[in-house]
């Protein structure tokens, strides 16, 4: 398979930028992983709060790069027409990259706002909105000009519109902390447990159609089931963030019931993937892409579904809220759902975009990287689960002081750092394969 539309090639720089920022994210992850064990590391030049905001902001930026690249690759094939404006795609690519880089470097010089994950200074927030609107404009025009309207593109568009819409709540900064946090979650929760899942499910459907050759009708029916379950459970599921932050107690009941079934869309994604593979008429030569595709369904189920469910009930969350349990769930959920779906799309699309297009080279290195990264991230999550259990018990049950509790958690932080190192190793193999090995052979 090669690319069918010239404008699809604009997706390539998006994947390159995503991988570059991912590398930087991992680097800062290692920094804070070390700081947990050796707090003086890089202190006071890069204190924990700065390194941590860089680690997470880079994640958000590279995932959005990956989403946009995925969209630019799949749109022409879906709508059967070129992208409306490749120039515009390049323009907002550079705007986003320069804006993102400015924000990250600015953080190092203490130029930041102060709400978790939304540390972007006001002007950067405005730039982000403009970039996303430029992208959405390009997407809508491509869809209007295209010959075909598919459910995948419509769901993808709803996802991006939601991403833009809910980000607007980042501009709302009331003096009342309870009000602040209430609507802060409209950005954070509505993104990652709402509209981003639509983007993920749309990309997943596209990939499964391409990799299995199964009829589009089947895939698109599943797509609607998955996103129906996402919104059915996830919107009121926001309530699991409203247990202890000054919001009314009815959220404990509503949050518990709805977030307990937030696992369903992830179960549906696994069922969907396995069903599609069982129906396939041919074996696609791109085995690595299939690894990432099935992998994203399974690991997101483990990270978002299982680890999320573990501490979503108020009876448990009362003790685990604000401990390393959340970090554990966050790592595996983000990696499984959003990092892996972007890697899946990169794995599928990039061979089609290279000079010797459509040729699948040896994938041994990539598949080795896949297993190394997946297993490492599962182990990172398990290490942090251990830390979370110890912390919940000592601090919340036995009322041991915070620092005393932390002193008993070193072993888990050590394990986390070790698996962070093996994860990095896997990623280096991935990059070597992506930039050197495949480039050399695809000349």
């Amino acid at each position: 398979m090669t690319y069918k539309y010239e404008s699809q090639r604009v997706a390539f720089p998006y994947f390159v930028a995503a991988l570059g920022l991912f590398a930087a994210q991992i680097l800062f992850g290692i920094v804070i992983g070390i700081q947990y064990l050796a707090p003086d590391f890089l202190f006071p030049a890069i204190p924990f709060n700065i390194a941590r905001m860089i680690h997470i902001n880079l994640l958000v930026v590279w995932i959005i790069f990956g989403f946009m690249g995925s969209a630019y690759y799949l749109l022409p094939e879906e709508v059967e027409g070129e992208i409306y404006s490749v120039k515009l795609a390049w323009l907002h690519f550079w705007m986003f990259l320069v804006g993102g880089a400015t924000a990250i470097v600015g953080y190092l010089f203490r130029w930041h706002d102060g709400r978790e994950f939304l540390e972007q200074p006001f002007i950067i927030k405005v730039a982000i909105v403009i970039v996303v609107l430029m992208f959405i404009f390009n997407m809508v025009m491509t869809m209007i000009k295209g010959r075909r309207r598919t459910s995948i593109t419509i769901v993808l568009l709803i996802g991006f519109l939601g991403l833009a819409l809910f980000y607007l709540f980042a501009f709302f900064k009331p003096d009342n902390m309870v009000m602040d946090k209430y609507f802060w979650w409209w950005v954070v929760h509505m993104w990652v447990e709402g509209v981003w899942e639509l983007i993920m499910a749309a990309i997943l459907s596209f990939l499964l159609i391409k990799l299995t050759g199964v009829d589009r009708e089947v895939a698109e029916k599943w797509l609607y089931i998955i996103i129906g379950l996402t919104f059915l459970t996830g919107i009121i599921g926001t309530g699991h963030h409203y247990y202890w932050i000054g919001t009314p107690e009815f959220w404990q009941i509503w949050g518990a019931w709805f977030s307990a079934i937030e696992v369903l869309p992830f179960v549906a994604m696994i069922a969907f993937s396995l069903r599609m593979v069982s129906l396939r008429s041919r074996k696609h030569p791109n085995g690595a892409a299939l690894h990432w595709t099935i992998g994203t369904a399974i690991v997101s189920f483990l990270g978002a579904g299982v680890l999320g469910f573990m501490h979503t009930l108020p009876q448990i969350n009362y003790y685990t809220h604000g401990t390393q349990m959340t970090a554990s769930h966050g790592h595996l959920a983000f990696f499984g759902a959003y990092a892996m779906i972007v890697m899946a799309m990169a794995s599928y699309a990039v061979p089609n975009l290279r000079r010797k297009t459509g040729e699948i080279m040896s994938q041994k290195a990539e598949i080795f990287a896949f297993w190394t990264m997946v297993i490492s991230m599962v182990c990172i999550a398990l290490s942090l689960t251990g830390a979370g259990v110890v912390q919940s018990y000592l601090q919340r049950v036995l009322a041991t002081s915070y620092m005393e509790t932390q002193s008993h958690m070193g072993i888990f932080y050590g394990m986390r750092l070790f698996f962070g190192a093996t994860f990095t190793l896997g990623f280096i193999v991935y990059l070597y394969d992506f930039f050197l090995l495949k480039r050399a052979t695809s000349r």
């Binding site: 804070i32 947990y36 707090p39 003086d40 202190f43 006071p44 924990f48 709060n49 700065i50 941590r52 905001m53 930041h112 706002d113 102060g114 709400r115 978790e116 540390e119 459910s151 900064k173 003096d175 009342n176 902390m177 309870v178 602040d180 946090k181 209430y182 009708e217 029916k221 599943w222 609607y224 089931i225 129906g228 919104f231 059915l232 919107i235 009121i236 409203y242 202890w244 932050i245 000054g246 919001t247 009314p248 107690e249 959220w251 404990q252 509503w254 009362y318 003790y319 809220h321 604000g322 401990t323 959340t326 970090a327 601090q395 919340r396 049950v397 009322a399 002081s401 915070y402 620092m403």
Partner: protein, 138 residues
């Protein structure tokens, strides 16, 4: 089930849960003055929140359990440590930082900033958090 009925279920479910969610949001906002002591939210408290944000405190500490887990919970810090101790920490941090193992960096905190932060923590401590945290240690 075919594609059209799956799509209609998606639309129907989204409309219904969104309506319920918005109604619960209205109820939550109505409950806020009582649960968050809005009348006691003075200008000093508001300034304290700005100082809190200026130094990205949330990226090490947690506040009502939300934040970065690298440093202690602060919603009940006045109750746990007492106002005098909190002042000493902030005044020392303004000069040279604080702590022995995991250190708080030096922050430029004026007298007004410190007073406001203390007022902010006092106000936070009065929020009705449904008995969270489970004990004084946060």
């Amino acid at each position: 089930m075919n594609k059209a009925s799956a799509r209609n279920m998606f639309i129907g479910a989204t409309v219904i849960v969104s309506a319920i969610f918005l109604y619960m949001t209205v109820l939550s906002i109505k409950a806020m003055p009582a649960r968050a002591n809005t009348p006691q939210l003075t200008e000093e408290v508001a300034w304290g929140k700005k100082v809190w944000e200026k130094h990205a405190c949330i990226d090490c500490h947690t506040l009502m359990g939300e934040g970065a887990y690298y440093a202690p919970e602060l919603v009940n810090v006045i109750e746990r440590r007492g106002e005098a101790y909190v002042r000493v920490v902030l005044e020392t941090a303004a000069i040279q930082g604080w702590g022995t193992t995991r250190k708080m960096p030096q922050f430029d905190l004026s007298k007004k900033d410190i007073d406001s932060l203390v007022e902010f923590f006092k106000w936070m401590g009065k929020i009705e958090t449904s008995n969270w945290p489970p004990n004084i240690e946060g």
